[in-house]
Symmetry: C2
DNA sequence: CCAAAAGTGTTTGCTCTACACCCATGG
DNA sequence: CCATGGGTGTAGAGCAAACACTTTTGG
C-alpha cells in the first residue's frame, strides 16, 4: 500500500516507480506496399537492432507530446496523424527493468517519408515493408502487429485512409492504400461507387499527369461533408 | 536524454519516473439500467469523493494483474471479463504529481454485484447508474465516458454483451442489456431473429420462472459455435 | 378471466457482389 | 497505333427495417 512521506514540504507518494516510454508505429504506403518506420538502435540493450522510434516521457509532458517529440528528434517527422494504440507493460519486456511503454499509431503520406530516411540518417532509418519485418528490439514486433490490426479496423469506420495520401489524390491511389493495408485486391467499380456514394470527396479541377496514360481526376477529402455523416454512423463497407 | 548509472552491479536508467496506476471501469446491467462500480475515497486527494477502483502497479506485476488485484482488494470482485481501455497521462491529472493511469474496462453479470457492495462496504461502494454520475475524483468522469464509448462499439462486433449475463439467460434479458448500453429501444422480433441467426446460442431445457407470466426459454452462449464465425468476421447489426 | 411478458412472419427497400468493355493519353 | 491505367452500369442475392397479433402462465 502506498504511504505518504513529507519531503521538501510536498506530499510525495512512496511507491516504486517504473520507467515510462512512448513508442510509435508510423505507417505509410509506398505503392504497392505498406511500410513501418524503424530506427537502428545505437546502444544497448539490443544494440544495432531495429526498433520503433520512441523514448522516455518527460515529467511535465503529455504522452502524445512525448511521442511527437521523439518522432521529431529521431526521424525529423512532424505534423502527422497520431492516436494512442495500447500500453505494453509486461514486467520483463525490457532487460533494464520495469519499463512500461505507451504505444502510438501514426500515419504519414508518402510524399513526406523523404523527411525521415534522408541523408546522414539513411542507414539509421528505414521504411520497412510490413511483410518483411526482421527481428526487432524488445517486444516491438508484437506492437507492430497490434498496430496493423488496429489500422485495418480503423480503415473500415474512420477516415484514417486519407491520412496516408496527399491532399489531392486519385481514386486509384486511395484504392491502393486500402489494398496495401487489407492485403487483398478490391473491385475497382465497387470501390469507386461506394467511395463516391459516401459523399465525402470533392472533385478538383486538377488531374494527375504522372504516367504515360490517361490522367486521373484528383479529389479532396471534405471534412465538412464528413461531419454530416459522423453522427448517423458511417461504415466503409470493404 | 537517459544516462546509465552503475548501481549495485546493475544498469539502471537515470530518468525521472512517473507513478503508474491502474483504474477499472466495471459495468453491470441491473435492469433496466447500466451501472458503474464506484468507491468512496478514504484519504486525500479527493477525500470522500467517489472514484473508480484502482491503485498503484507493483514493480513485478503485469498491468492487468494489478487491475484484478485492486478490484479484489477494494471490492471483493474476482474472475470478471477485463480489457485494457486507454492510458491517461496528462501531467496535471493528479495533484500529487505525475501519475499515469492505465484504465481497464470490466464487465460483470448482475448476480455477482452482491459481492461488491455487501455488508460493511455498503457505504464505501456503490453501483451508480451511468446516467447519474456525480462529481468524481481526478479525471475519472472522462475515463467512464471513454469506457462507455468503447463498450458501445464492442457490443457491435464482439460477444461482450454475454459477459453481463448469467450463464443461462432469456433473450429478453439479452435485449435488455443491449438496450441499457445503447440507450435506445430495439425491435423484439428483429433482435431475436438476428441473434438466433448468428447461431452462437444453445437453447437449454430450462425456462425462467421469475414473474407471474409466461416462462421464457433460457439460452447459453456457445463459445464453440462462436469460433466458427470468428474468422469470417461477425457483425452484430444493432 | 385478466395482466403481463413470451413468442412468431412477411413485405419492402437497400446494399453488396460479381462481372467486361470503352476511353483518353503519351510515347 | 499501341500500351496502359482511367472510367463506367446492371442484374441478382442477401440483409435490415418496419410492423401487430397470438400464446402461456400466475394470480
Amino acid at each position: 500500500m502506498a504511504k505518504m512521506l513529507r519531503r521538501a514540504g510536498k506530499h510525495v507518494y512512496d511507491h516504486p516507480r517504473p520507467l515510462v516510454t512512448v513508442d510509435v508505429v508510423v505507417f505509410t504506403v509506398r505503392e504497392p506496399t505498406l511500410r513501418v518506420l524503424l530506427i537502428r538502435r545505437g546502444k544497448p540493450p539490443f544494440h544495432r537492432r531495429w526498433a520503433l522510434p520512441g523514448g522516455f516521457v518527460n515529467m511535465d509532458e503529455p504522452l502524445e507530446d512525448a511521442a511527437r517529440r521523439e518522432l521529431a528528434e529521431e526521424a525529423g517527422l512532424t505534423d502527422l496523424w497520431l492516436e494512442q494504440l495500447y500500453t505494453f507493460g509486461s514486467p520483463r519486456r525490457d532487460p533494464r527493468g520495469r519499463v512500461i511503454t505507451v504505444a502510438y499509431l501514426g500515419l504519414v503520406p508518402p510524399e513526406r517519408i523523404a523527411d525521415a530516411a534522408a541523408g546522414d540518417d539513411a542507414d539509421r532509418l528505414k521504411w520497412c515493408p510490413v511483410r518483411k519485418l526482421t527481428a526487432m528490439a524488445f517486444d516491438h514486433h508484437q506492437i507492430v502487429h497490434c498496430a496493423l490490426k488496429r489500422l485495418r479496423t480503423k480503415l473500415e469506420y474512420t477516415t484514417a485512409g486519407f491520412e496516408l495520401l496527399p491532399r489531392r489524390f486519385a481514386l486509384s491511389q486511395l484504392q491502393a492504400v486500402y489494398e496495401a493495408i487489407l492485403a487483398r485486391k478490391l473491385d475497382k467499380r465497387n470501390f469507386r461507387r461506394k467511395m463516391l456514394a459516401l459523399n465525402i470527396l470533392d472533385p478538383t479541377p486538377a488531374t494527375r499527369r504522372d504516367g504515360a496514360h490517361r490522367p486521373a481526376r484528383l479529389y479532396r477529402f471534405s471534412a465538412r461533408k464528413f461531419e454530416n455523416l459522423r453522427d448517423r454512423g458511417i461504415l466503409f463497407p470493404f
